[in-house]
Amino acid sequence: MTKTKHELYALLSDAVVGMDEDTAAALSREAIGAGYDAYETIEQGLAKGMERAGKLFDESEYFVPELLMCADALNVGLDILRPHITTEERSEKHRIVIGVIEGDTHDIGKNLVKLMLSAAGFDVIDLGRDVPPSVFVERAIKEEAKIIMISSLMTTTMDGMEETVQLLHEKGVREKFKVAVGGGPVSSGFAEKIGADGYASNANQAVKLANELAQSK
């Protein structure tokens, strides 16, 4: 018997939380076969699952390996469902430029934030790791981003975040962007000190912060 779309969305969400790529793929194909809306299936099924995984991460039930496994299940489903999204459903998304600051190649945190932001519907431009402040600024301008997100895992490279904020001021474009920072040694006090607009302690918090910053003027 065909599942109702709400049953299927719930199972899809469970497959993501359960790190089950095969089930996520099978259910995504089933959704297409049953004629369910692909965009809604992503939002109500896959993205909901990733949101739940993020909460488990917040609660220290899940850690980096589990979140990455959930993301793999999400991506398997996305690959199947995305080609079926109609043009009119591709609504305007807030664009975020994200990267790890110069001198630092630890990008796993940044990659998790990117995954969570993408699942939450943001248009994420990933600049990679070891990114100089000037590149953050140039790309944010070029891509007409709303938010710049900078990560650092090392106390020795955090200064580059402040340089990025200063560079935005020097170029007279500070007001055009919201700047958010994160990473192991970064704190809300540090964010405030360097003049950033926000700080997130982990990937799930980063999504909440991005939503707040996207809504702010």
């Binding site: 850690f63 390996p65 190649t105 192991g184 006090g189 540090f190």
Partner: protein, 344 residues
């Protein structure tokens, strides 16, 4: 009056020390930064120059505990055939994963990696530091633990997924990194006058892996390294980043004698969990306290930390993680003096 080394020996042996010992650098790049020279530049100069800078800065700030071997992990991985990138702001970074398959692991040659010019330079710099020390301070050789090395060889993201998707491969990789870690420490311990080993395991952080994975993939390889090094009878200290309160109880079984914890760990709780089986070190915040506060505030905050953890010995004062070049020497001296002047 005891010298620094003897005070640290007392702490490791849970004898009541004359005063609380203190270390300033965990990874050890700070002395180079403040002297305005990078590791890359130093590698073109005699090893004695690096030793002189390193020792002088630690001496100037009054550290009892010094690590040698800054940059060893990246240089070792370069010796294995990996690509590294020197940083003006920190230790060299691994530019790309070196290992993707079991065949890649089999092709790696540890003895050859230890014989490169850069690794020889590093060892000579450590030996020169020992000469300057005259057994006054406690000198520890720094290196990485097997789990973190596995992440550096494979990429932490791939390692994380492989914990679920390819457990056999992870086992093989960890077998190799146990050999790599132990071989490196053994090779450095050939230098007479080194007092201990300092193992960093940042990827085993409470922010990265679960207690379950910590127990199954971090603890057994660490224990294997410690067993291989046991006959050297050197002191041993591990630093793990993040909040590791939920896994501290697993540390004593590795044979490691002291654990250095991040600022996120409650020292009182940590001391209770370790229960005299493993000594404790930490954990003044390197950014929000050491970098951002005034010297007076640093002194006060450090004394608070000591009030919690230093009673009855078994404790060494360290920053909660490595410090950046932006931490003022005035603040470091306030941090050090807080330890040296602290009384129960």
């Amino acid at each position: 009056m005891s010298v620094s080394r003897e005070i640290i020996d007392d702490v490791f042996a849970f004898r009541k020390p004359e005063r609380v010992p203190v270390g300033v650098c965990l990874g050890g790049s700070y002395p180079f930064f403040v002297e305005g020279v990078s590791l890359q530049e130093l590698l073109t100069q005699p090893p004695s120059r690096a030793a002189e800078i390193f020792y002088r800065v630690n001496e100037r700030v009054g550290a009892d505990f010094i690590t040698v071997g800054t940059g060893a992990t990246a240089l070792l991985i370069e010796g294995l055939g990996g690509q590294i990138k020197f940083s003006p702001k920190g230790a060299p970074e691994i530019a790309a994963p070196l290992v993707q398959s079991e065949a890649d692991i089999e092709a790696l040659n540890i003895p050859a990696a230890l014989q490169t010019e850069k690794m020889q330079w590093l060892k000579e710099a450590a030996a020169e530091t020992v000469k300057l020390n005259h057994q006054q301070k406690s000198l520890f050789v720094s290196g990485r633990a097997p789990f973190t090395l596995a992440g550096q060889l494979l990429g932490l993201e791939t390692l994380s997924k492989s914990l679920y998707k390819n457990k056999t491969f992870v086992e093989k990789l960890l077998e190799f990194t146990v050999k790599l870690s132990a071989s490196y420490f053994e090779w450095m311990l050939q230098i007479d006058g080194l007092n201990g080993i300092f193992i960093a395991d940042p990827s085993a952080s409470g922010d990265v892996v679960s207690v379950k994975h910590f127990e199954t993939t971090v603890i057994p390889p660490l224990t294997a390294v410690m067993q291989q090094l046991a006959h050297y009878q050197k002191l041993s200290l591990i630093h793990i980043c993040g909040n590791i309160t939920d896994r501290l109880h697993l540390i004593p079984q590795t044979g490691i004698q002291m654990v250095s914890v991040d600022s996120k760990v409650d020292l009182q709780q940590a001391k209770k969990i370790l229960d005299g089986k493993t000594a404790l070190a930490g954990n003044v915040n390197p950014v929000t306290v050491l970098e951002d506060k005034t010297a007076e505030e640093v002194y006060w905050e450090t004394q608070q930390c000591l009030n919690i953890a230093a009673k009855d010995g078994g404790f060494m004062l360290l920053p909660g993680c490595d410090i950046s070049a932006k931490v003022s020497e005035k603040n470091i001296k306030a941090f050090v003096n807080a330890a040296k002047e602290w009384k129960e």
